[in-house]
Symmetry: C2
Subunit: 458 residues, 2 copies
C-alpha cells in the first residue's frame, strides 16, 4: 500500500499535463507538416514524445526526416541538412548544427529543444545503414508493445534519475530511456522491474524476441528487439548496474518519495572542504586543462584513459593513489587524485639484470659501481641497487612533463600539451569544480545518501 | 701466468704446514687408538683432515666411532655417547654434548676442536640409517678420487670464503667443503671450476656416477656419489649461487689476490651510520629479542620466516618495505626493516562485499552508514568505504602486538612473546649488531666490493 500510494503521488508530479501534451504535439505537427510538404522526405516523431513516455517538464522533441534509401550517403547529408536548416530557419530562426554519428540540426521552437534528424526510410530494421536509421524502429516497437504501461516507464525513468543512473552518455554510463521502456515491457510494469532488479547479479540476459545472435560480456544484456546483434544496455557500467540493484533493493525494503525526489547533496564551501580534507590527512592533486573541442562521448573515454594512465604512473613512482576521478566541464576538465603518499625518501631500490645475463650484467655493474646508496648487490640471482630517486614529491612529478609521456587520449594529450594547471590540497576547490570535488570527498551510494538524510532529519 | 702466479702465492699461505699436519694426525691417532682399544667401536678420521683438504689454521678434527649396525638406535646413542664422554674426559677433561641430527661430543684437545661422533658401521652407503652414517662414505669417495687435486680444493675453499659464500649452514646457504671437493673432482681442478662456473646459470646438473634417481629444483644439482637421491648442493641459495658465478667471472677477467684475501669492509661508527641513514632518507626499524635456545639451523629459517611475515604485514598496512634482513647473534637476534613510508593519512580505503552478496552487503552498508570519511559507495559492483586507519605510523604498528599475530616460527614466537625491543633510525646501531647494520646499508656483491676497493687504492 505504501508503495502504491507513493507511486501515485510521484505520477501526479511527473505525468505531463494536458496543455503540455497538446502544445508539444502541435509543434510536432507543424514541423512534420513542413517536412511532408517539402516533398523531399517523410516526417516522423521519435523519442519519448512519440512513445508517450516523457516526464513532465522535459523539453526535448525529436523529429526524424525519412529520405529515400536509394540516395547516396552524401546526398542524404546534403539534402537532409538543407531541409532541416530551411525548416529551422522558417520556424524559429536559430540553427545549431550538431554531430553524433551523422549531422543533424538543433533549434528552439516555442520553448522546446527540437532535433531535426535526417535518416533513411528503410522498410525493415535489417536494412538500416547506420544507427540513426534504427531509431524509427525503436519508436514503432515501443508504441506497439507499451500498452497501458506508459506511466510505469515514467516511474522507472524518474527512479533512475533520482539514483543518478539515468542516461547512456559516456559520463553517466547508466540507463537509456529506451532501455527503461524495454525493461517495463519485459517485466510487465515498474513494480515488477523493481522486484526483479533487486536480486539481479551481473549476467542478466533479456531477449524479448528470442532472436539473440551474438554473445555479450556486459553485466546486463537486453537484446534489441529490432537488431539481434545489439545490446541495448551495452553502455551500462558495472558500477551503475550495481547502484541500480542497490537502489531497487532499498526501495523494496523501505519505499519512500526519496527514491524519486532524492535529498540534494549540497556543495561544501571552501572552509568546510578544507577542514574535511584536513581530517582525511590525504594529499589531493588536480590537473586542469581546456575541454577539447569535440563531442563529449569522445572526450569522456579519453578523460578516463588519461586518469588511469596518470594514476598508474603515480603508483609506479611510489605515490600510492587512494582514489581518482574526472570531470568534464564546458570550458575545463579536471583529473583529480587523492594520494596516501606525498613524499618519498631520496633512496629508491632498482632492479638490474640476472647475473648470467652476460654483457648486460657487466654493463649494469660497471655503470653503477659508484654513486649508489648501496650495491650493486645480488638477490635471487639478480643485481639490485639502491639509488637516488628521480621524483621525491608527487607534486613535482605531476608538475613535470611526465604526465605528458603516459598514454593519454589524443584530444586530451593535445589540450594538456597546450598547457595544464596543477592544483593541490584545498586549492582543488576551484571555480566550476566546487560540486565535483565536494562530491568526490563525500562520495556515497544513492541508497546510503537517502538513508543518511533520513536519519539526520528523523 | 698472472693466475698461476697468484694461485701459487695463495697456496703458500693456506697449505697446512708440516708440523701442523703432524700434530693433527698425532692427536687423531691417539683418539682412534682409544676408540679401537675400547673394543666397542672402530675409529675413523672424517672431514677435511681425512681428505687432506683442510686450510692452514683450521682447528676442526672429526672422529667418527663406527658401531655394529645390529645395535638399536637407543643402544647406539647410549653406548656411543658413553664412549665419547669417557674418551673426552680422559684426553682433555672438557666435555660439551651437542646435537645435530644425533647427539655427539665436542671437546678441546691440544688446541684442536674435536668432534666425537657415534654412527653405524654399515658396509654399503645404501644401508645408512641416518645422515651421520653417510659421512664415512663421503670420506672414502673423496680419498679415492681426489688424486693430486687436494691443493685445488684448498684454493676453491679459500676462494669461496673470500666471496662470503663458504658454508652450508642455513645463515650462509653457501658451498659446503664436500661440495667444493666434488666440483674439483668433476671439473678436474680449480681453474676448470672457475671456467665452468663463470658461465653457469641455474639448472646446472652434475652427476659424477650417473646414478641420479630423483629430480631437484635447486639452482645447482650435484648428485651425491654415495646417494643417488641426495643433492649435495641442496642448501645453496640462488643468491649465493649467483654470487659465486659473479665472483668466478670477475676472477677470470682480472685475477688478483683479492679474490682469496678480500678487502675487509670496516664497521661504520655511530656518527657515520647516522649520516649515511640521513642521506638515504629512509626509515629504519629493528626488532631485537633473545636468541632462542636451539641449534642455529632451526633458528635461522624461523628468523627468515618471521622477517618475511612482518615485512608482509608492513606492506599490507601501507608501509612500503624497501629491504629487510635478519641477524642471529649469540645472545640476541635482530629483524631489520628499511621503509620508504613511515606515516600514512588518517584515511584508509577499505573494500566491502559485492552488492548482490545478499545480507553481507546489507550488513556492511548498515555497519558503515555513519562515521566514515566517505561511503559506502559503489565501484565495480562492490561497496567501498574510506575509513579511519588503525595504524598511521609504522613505529606504532611494530610496537603493538600486531607482529605477534603474524606467522612467526615457533621458537621466534616464544622468544618475542617474552618481550622484544623496537629500535628505530640511528638507534638500530646497537651493541652486537654494529657490523650487521653497517653491512646492511653498504650491501655490495663480493665482486663489486673488490672492484671498488681497488679503485679507492689505485
Amino acid at each position: 500500500v505504501k508503495r502504491q500510494e507513493c507511486e501515485e503521488k510521484v505520477l501526479s508530479h511527473i505525468t505531463p499535463l494536458r496543455e503540455e501534451r497538446e502544445h508539444i504535439h502541435s509543434v510536432a505537427d507543424r514541423i512534420i507538416g513542413a517536412v511532408n510538404t517539402s516533398g523531399k522526405a517523410k516526417g516522423m516523431i521519435a523519442g519519448s514524445v512519440a512513445r508517450d513516455t516523457w516526464v513532465r517538464g522535459d523539453r526535448d522533441l525529436d523529429i526524424f526526416m525519412l529520405f529515400d534509401p536509394s540516395m547516396s550517403r552524401e546526398a542524404l547529408e546534403e539534402h537532409g541538412m538543407g531541409l532541416a536548416r530551411s525548416i529551422a530557419r522558417r520556424l524559429s530562426g536559430a540553427v545549431v548544427e550538431k554531430y553524433a554519428e551523422h549531422p543533424y540540426v538543433n533549434t528552439e521552437i516555442e520553448g522546446l529543444s527540437v532535433d531535426l534528424v535526417p535518416c533513411y526510410a528503410v522498410d525493415n530494421a535489417a536494412r538500416i545503414q547506420s544507427a540513426v536509421d534504427r531509431t524509427p524502429f525503436h519508436t514503432l516497437f515501443v508504441r506497439e508493445h507499451i500498452g497501458d504501461l506508459a506511466s510505469d516507464v515514467l516511474l522507472l525513468k524518474q527512479f533512475a534519475k533520482a539514483g543518478g543512473i539515468y542516461g547512456s552518455d559516456q559520463m553517466t554510463g547508466g540507463f537509456a530511456g529506451y532501455l527503461c521502456e524495454l525493461l517495463v515491457i519485459w517485466y510487465g510494469g515498474f513494480s515488477q522491474v523493481i522486484e526483479a532488479a533487486s536480486s539481479w547479479r551481473p549476467g542478466v540476459v533479456i531477449d524479448i524476441r528470442g532472436h539473440q545472435s551474438k554473445e555479450f560480456e556486459d553485466p546486463l544484456v537486453v537484446v534489441d528487439p529490432v537488431d539481434p546483434r545489439r545490446n541495448v544496455a551495452a553502455s551500462l557500467t558495472l558500477t551503475r548496474f550495481a547502484e541500480f540493484v542497490e537502489f531497487a533493493h532499498g526501495y523494496r525494503e523501505a519505499p519512500s518519495m526519496d527514491f524519486f525526489f532524492p535529498p540534494v547533496q549540497g556543495v561544501l564551501d571552501f572552509e568546510c572542504f578544507k577542514a574535511a580534507l584536513g581530517e582525511r590527512g590525504t594529499y589531493l592533486y588536480a590537473i586542469v586543462f581546456s575541454t577539447p573541442h569535440t563531442i563529449p562521448d569522445i572526450v569522456v573515454p579519453q578523460l578516463r584513459k588519461s586518469l588511469a594512465a596518470i594514476a598508474g604512473m603515480l603508483d609506479r613512482y611510489g605515490f600510492t593513489v587512494s582514489r581518482s576521478d574526472c570531470c568534464m566541464g564546458e570550458a575545463r576538465c579536471m583529473l583529480l587524485f587523492e594520494l596516501l603518499v606525498d613524499s618519498l625518501p631520496a633512496l629508491k631500490r632498482h632492479m638490474g639484470p640476472y647475473i648470467w645475463n652476460g654483457s648486460n650484467a657487466d654493463d649494469f655493474r660497471d655503470k653503477y659501481r659508484n654513486g649508489t646508496f648501496s650495491g650493486p648487490y645480488i638477490e635471487d640471482g639478480r643485481y639490485w641497487i639502491d639509488i637516488q630517486r628521480k621524483h621525491t614529491s608527487a607534486g613535482e612529478l605531476l608538475g613535470s612533463d611526465s604526465p605528458l609521456k603516459v598514454s593519454l587520449g589524443k584530444h586530451v594529450m593535445a589540450s594538456m600539451q597546450r598547457g595544464f594547471t596543477l592544483l593541490s590540497g584545498p586549492g582543488c576547490w576551484t571555480e566550476g569544480f566546487e560540486s565535483f570535488v565536494s562530491g568526490f570527498i563525500r562520495k556515497q551510494s544513492p541508497l546510503v545518501r537517502i538513508k543518511q538524510k533520513r536519519e539526520e532529519i528523523g
